[in-house]
């Protein structure tokens, strides 16, 4: 991939598995992607295709065992996260990389006030006095457009709505001034109007502060609205990476095409909903060859035998599919 040195985050051939009683689930299979400073990269795919596992591996949040990373590297600013000692890993978390989660209902500790928790995070990373910490919190809440920030600091999480909590989370994580923010389906649990507001705030703030975002979602319309580039994952593999315009104008992988056509538009009159037939395969016993071939509508001769590799088909457009052999 181009621009080796300027990548903020670079995942190379990351493979990982869960050891379960039913067998070994190979959840990641040579995943490669990269993120430049200030860029918003969307990571998209159906449930269970390895998006969250990829994201959480970056921060090493999954307990090992049963999880095990079996190969590859995760380079953040050129250093391999997988080889960091625990002290440096902790400094990396929060200082350089932050994460917001899907469940805004339980992402805040229910027994402390919002102010208490926000100030805790501020104090963890910036040695400032109580008054200054409070000012920073107020400023951050103001930036995520929460009115009446002063009162919100005194509230307990259950007194806030889901949208307000997610804004608090964004404010809290950005107050650490990270270089990379991992957003794991932050709007999935919210209703559509709130979802739009949160996305706008997230995009605006991260662009203004120059924070890179790894945005995980299963919703193609969110990708279109927010991201610069997109990586499409299927069954633990990256199948296509492209700029967001390229991808929507000319999706190459049949899976990507399926995802895009599943977006329901307002204009078209349809009497049926588009969908990709079948489900994500079991990762304990995945289909041979291209993992998508049992659900694919255009099966070629090598598909069931040979796994396609992720190769560039155009500048900045990577694809793993036998339809376009380089």
């Amino acid at each position: 991939m181009a621009g080796l040195t300027q990548d903020l985050l670079r995942i190379e051939d990351l493979s990982a598995e869960f050891r379960t009683y039913q067998g070994v689930a190979k959840v990641l299979n040579q995943v490669s992607l990269s993120l430049r400073p200030g860029e918003i990269l969307g990571l998209v795919g159906e449930s269970g295709c390895g998006k969250s596992v990829t994201a959480r591996s970056i921060l090493r949040l999954i307990p090992e065992p049963p999880f095990k990373i079996t190969g590859g590297r995760i380079l953040f600013r050129g250093r391999d996260v997988l080889k960091l000692p625990s002290g440096e890993l902790r400094r990396l978390r929060g200082n350089s990389i932050s994460m917001i989660f899907q469940e805004p209902m339980s992402s805040l500790n229910p027994v402390f006030t919002v102010g208490n928790q926000m100030m805790e995070v501020v104090n963890l990373h910036q040695r400032v006095g109580r008054t200054r910490a409070r000012e920073i919190c107020l400023e951050m809440l103001h930036q995520v457009r929460l009115p009446d920030a002063d009162r919100i600091l005194g509230k307990y999480p259950h007194e806030l709505s889901g949208g307000m909590r997610q804004r608090v989370m964004i404010a809290m994580e950005l107050s650490c001034r990270p270089d990379l923010l991992i957003a794991d389906e932050p709007t999935t649990a919210l209703d559509v109007t709130i979802q739009g507001q949160i996305l706008t705030i997230l995009a605006e703030l991260t662009r203004r502060k120059g924070v890179s975002v790894l945005f995980i979602t299963h919703d193609m319309s969110v990708i279109a609205q927010l991201c610069d580039r997109v990586a499409v994952m299927y069954a633990g593999m990256v199948v296509e990476i492209a700029g967001v315009r390229d991808l929507f104008a000319a999706p190459l992988h049949p899976y990507t095409r399926g995802l895009i056509s599943s977006i329901t538009g307002l204009e078209e009159e349809t009497d049926h909903l588009e969908h990709i037939p079948g489900v994500v395969p079991s990762l304990i016993d995945p289909p041979g060859g291209c993992r998508f071939h049992p659900r694919c509508d255009q099966e070629l001769d090598p598909c069931p035998r040979l796994a396609p590799r992720l190769i560039p088909v155009e500048p900045g457009h990577y694809l793993a599919c036998h339809l376009y052999p380089g």
Binding site: L59, L61, P63, R90, R91, L92, R93, G94, N95, I97, S98, M99, I100, F101, Q102, E103, S106, S107, L108, N109, P110, V111, F112, T113, G115, N116, M119, E120, V121, L124, H125, L153, G154, H158, M169, M172, E173, C176
Partner: protein, 290 residues
């Protein structure tokens, strides 16, 4: 420390709310009234007790309950009512000390086991299981006997026996709480393990710990009284309920009041704590609080 960051009057608001919910729950109220009465008696015994609980007055030996001595007198002529009132001090103090010691230590042990899991969890919880596998009274007896008979040693022995109760419960809670996203969020923002345990895990277990503490309070008063009864706890002439029953037992046939009144107070106190504990379980449930 935590209260400083609460909004102005936040703690008072919480306390007022707790009292209001408590007052609407009749059995909780009953338990609270009993405990309140005992606590008041313990606090005011110095002022209100009609006689000194220690001074011997051999002319008034074993008087039946009546006008001057409401609960009668013992074999040394001491007023049983006064001794029972002073005894409340000792029993409640024993209960509070046991619960503080066992509650704090047990909760921390349980949280550490639950949070780290794996080998640490196994090591800690199997040790707890060993302690739990003895009947609590028998183990407390053995420990108290080994350390020598005194009230302090009895308290230590009872506290030691109660630790696994807290450890086991908090571990269970910790296992559930540590999977919640805010724990992951704390780790993501670079928090250290022990910070997470003390700051995120334990505060979320407080409600259950309070409930268990109330129940253990009753039980430890009972066990401490039993230790005193067999001579391993408070020593005469200390007015401890269990020790009083032990001596009063000899006179039970002819002077029924000697053992009966201290026994009655143990009974009522323990029942009071148990009722309160059961009711607190409901009162502290955040879902019905607001």
């Amino acid at each position: 420390m935590k209260t400083a960051v609460l909004p102005k009057g936040g703690l008072r608001r919480e306390l007022a709310l707790t009292l209001r919910v408590l007052s609407r729950n009749p059995s909780a109220l009953g338990g609270a009234v009993i405990i309140g009465f005992m606590a008041l008696m313990a606090l005011t015994s110095g002022l209100l007790a009609p006689f000194d609980p220690i001074t011997i007055s051999l002319g008034d030996r074993l008087l039946a309950p009546g006008g001057v001595h409401l609960f009668g007198t013992d074999e040394m002529g001491r007023d049983i009512l006064s001794r029972v009132m002073y005894g409340a001090r000792i029993s409640l103090r024993v209960g509070v000390m046991v619960v503080l010691f066992a509650g704090v230590l047990g909760s921390i042990i349980g949280a550490v086991a639950g949070y780290f899991g794996g080998r640490i969890d196994n090591l800690i919880m199997r040790t707890m299981d060993i302690i739990l596998s003895f009947p609590s009274l028998v183990l407390a007896m053995a420990l108290a006997a080994a350390m020598g008979p005194s009230l302090t040693n009895a308290v230590m022995a009872v506290a030691f026996v109660m630790i696994p109760k807290f450890a086991r419960m908090v571990r269970g809670e910790a296992l559930a709480v540590k999977e919640l996203p805010f724990i992951a969020a704390a780790r993501v923002s670079g928090a250290k393990d022990f910070w997470i345990i003390f700051h995120h895990l334990l505060p979320n277990c407080v409600n259950s710990v309070i409930v268990l503490a109330t129940l253990v309070m009753g039980e430890s008063i009972l066990v401490a009284a039993a230790l005193s009864f067999i001579g391993l706890g408070a020593q005469p002439p200390t007015p401890e309920w269990g020790a009083m029953i032990a001596v009063g037992r000899k006179y039970l046939m002819d002077q029924w009041w000697y053992a009966t009144f201290p026994g009655l107070f143990i009974l009522v106190t323990v029942i009071g704590f148990n009722i309160l504990g059961d009711a607190l379980r409901d009162v502290l449930d955040p879902r019905i609080r607001r």
